[in-house]
Amino acid sequence: MYVAVKGGERAILGSYALIGEQRRGDPGVPELSLEQIKQQLRLAVDRVMTEGSVYDRDLAALALKQASGDTVEAIFLLRAYRTTLPRFGYTRAVDTAGMRLWRRISATFKDLPGGQLLGPTYDYTQRLLDFSLEAGGETLPPAAQARAEATVAEAVPRVVDLLDSEGLIEKSAMDPSDPEPADLTRQPLDFPASRETRLQNLARGDEGFLLAMGYSTQRGYAHSHPFAGEIRYGEVEVLIEPEELGFPISIADISVTECQMVNQFAGSKTEPPKFTAGYGLTFGHCERKAMAMALVDRSLRAEELGERIESPAQMPEFVLSHSDNLEASGFVQHLKLPHYVDFQAELELVRKMRAERATDAAA
């Protein structure tokens, strides 16, 4: 009954107590520590950092704990915290060619300088429930040796840079003046949106939404012939160059996942046939998101490349206005709020229309 929605402060405080109790669960079971979440739920932490737009494993773990593991709720907590933080300045563009790699694969070349490096991945696991984990007391793999083999310390060129030497792929040179990037958390999204702005939106965008959008391009809605040119996951250095110093200083090493999709392009009147690229980048290890982002980035370039715009994944307003899971989640769930004034207005209208129809039928 609608009246029950009117309960006020006491009901709200009551809901705090209940959700706190549910989050904790059975007090006889030891409480989760942030360290456990950080260590053992790494991929959840990575997703919360990526879509929460804050690289901080501790805060992301805290958000996950507070949100009872609800990823979108955890992202909400992190974003609401982030909004109050002051901006000190911009870092230099991160150089992913200098990444210390934990994983690097290319689907376009069998072998290539730097080689293929499978690294940590669920890709070739057989998805059989491992009941040895159920019991606890997991036996640790000989990790030290695996890691020694798995980390490539020296810089390995990016696949697109190899294609570039032949002129086979479009150039995406950095603007030498290094202009300040748009910041979607400070300025509203405006259309038409530049590619940098679109990428920023996609980087914060919901993984599930981008996955579905990217998937749609593979099923005939804006086909763009993609190849996974390269996926790399590893650590990069973050540099800032304070004006008063005049030289860059390193402030952090962060782990990122980068994906470059390579797409065929038939050429146009002014451009010879060549490959174009779609780009995806995430914090931590979010490979599914990075790949989906690269597909959607490419499909959103339809107008720039003179392709026919027919599908949702090619429409910037459609994609960028609906990619943010906090906007979507908030607005979908606001339907829980009372709407009885509007409903009353509709009720009155429907009754009136029914009465009119009855009168017409009688006449």
């Binding site: 009117k6 009901a11 906007e327 709020l337 004034v341």
Partner: protein
């Protein structure tokens, strides 16, 4: 729960205490200044949607983040705040927003429309006429009145630029052709100052006439859509209509079960499982005032 309990007696002005862990009204001063600039522009161009750098608030999008940011930008320590949702002060979201401002500003709060200097509202305009010293802040889910007809913001912005509102008139005409009257009952589009088509937020069209020549400053905040707009005091606000189909508001055959009002917007309350129902004022403060006899029926 007895439905008659829902119109609980009002609290008078209650001073709050501020949590010093946050800046006054939560937002930092630079953000407030940015929002105030947007508000000033909005006031200068009545009905025009000003894009602003909407922040991610600790409340969800769609739950009043636009109204909250506007309120945070204009509220001062001397203000007396009233927050309503569906006309009532004790609905959970109104309570939550009021608690947010009590905690972050420590300002006095009230449930009485007359005592408030600042009113944040969702879906209603109080029945008690507003006065010159008051500001009313509307929470807006969808600031673009043309969105259901043209979803692309790039296009609707152009239409506003050219004052090209034929699409909306055609929609209203089609309603009349099909149903005999306009089939919009809330968020009914208005023309502001003879220039901009504006979404009044999902207030019932019953409230639309209250916007016209209102002495109070009316501010509209849409957080998720990142827009602010305004109606300055004493501005012409007309609900769209045709000469042969003039605009009309909702009327009830019933009157309020609690205070007997026949001139207020009534909520229908189901009282049993056999179809029994009563009507009661949606504006709980107006209803209380009438019952306490401070307004003659």
């Amino acid at each position: 729960m007895n439905p008659l309990d829902m119109q609980t007696s009002s609290i008078a002005v209650t001073p709050g205490t501020r949590d010093d862990g946050y800046n006054f009204a939560y937002l930092d001063e630079r953000t407030k200044r940015m929002i105030r600039r947007a508000i000033l522009k909005a006031v200068a161009i009545p009905g025009y949607q000003v894009a602003f750098g909407s922040r991610e608030m600790p409340l969800p999008y769609g739950w009043g983040t636009g109204g909250i940011q506007v309120t945070a930008a204009v509220i001062g320590p001397q203000d007396v705040l009233k927050v309503i949702d569906q006309g009532a002060d004790d609905t959970v979201n109104a309570v939550n927003i009021r608690r947010f401002f009590q905690r972050t500003t420590g300002v006095a709060v009230t449930e009485r429309t007359r005592e408030a200097t600042l009113i944040q509202t969702r879906h209603r305009i109080p029945e008690t006429p507003l006065a010159k010293h008051q500001i009313i802040v509307y929470q807006v889910p969808q600031p673009e009145p043309l969105q259901r007809l043209e979803p692309r913001a790039f296009e609707t912005r152009r239409m506003h630029g050219l004052a090209e509102y034929g699409l909306m008139h055609v929609k209203l005409y089609e309603d009349i052709a099909r149903f005999g009257h306009v089939a919009t009952t809330y968020d009914y589009p208005v023309m502001v100052n003879d220039r901009y088509l504006m979404a009044p937020s999902p207030i019932p069209k019953f409230d639309n006439p209250k916007m016209h020549m209102n002495p109070a400053l009316q501010l509209f905040g849409a957080g998720r859509e990142k827009r602010i707009y305004a109606i300055p005091p004493f501005t012409k606000v007309q609900s769209l209509a045709f000469d042969d189909h003039p605009f009309a508001v909702q009327k009830w055959s019933a009157s309020c079960e609690l205070c007997g009002a026949a001139d207020s917007f009534l909520d229908e309350v189901v009282v049993d499982d056999r179809g029994g129902r009563i009507h009661a004022c949606s504006d709980s403060d107006y209803c209380r005032e009438r019952r306490e006899g401070s307004v003659q029926p």
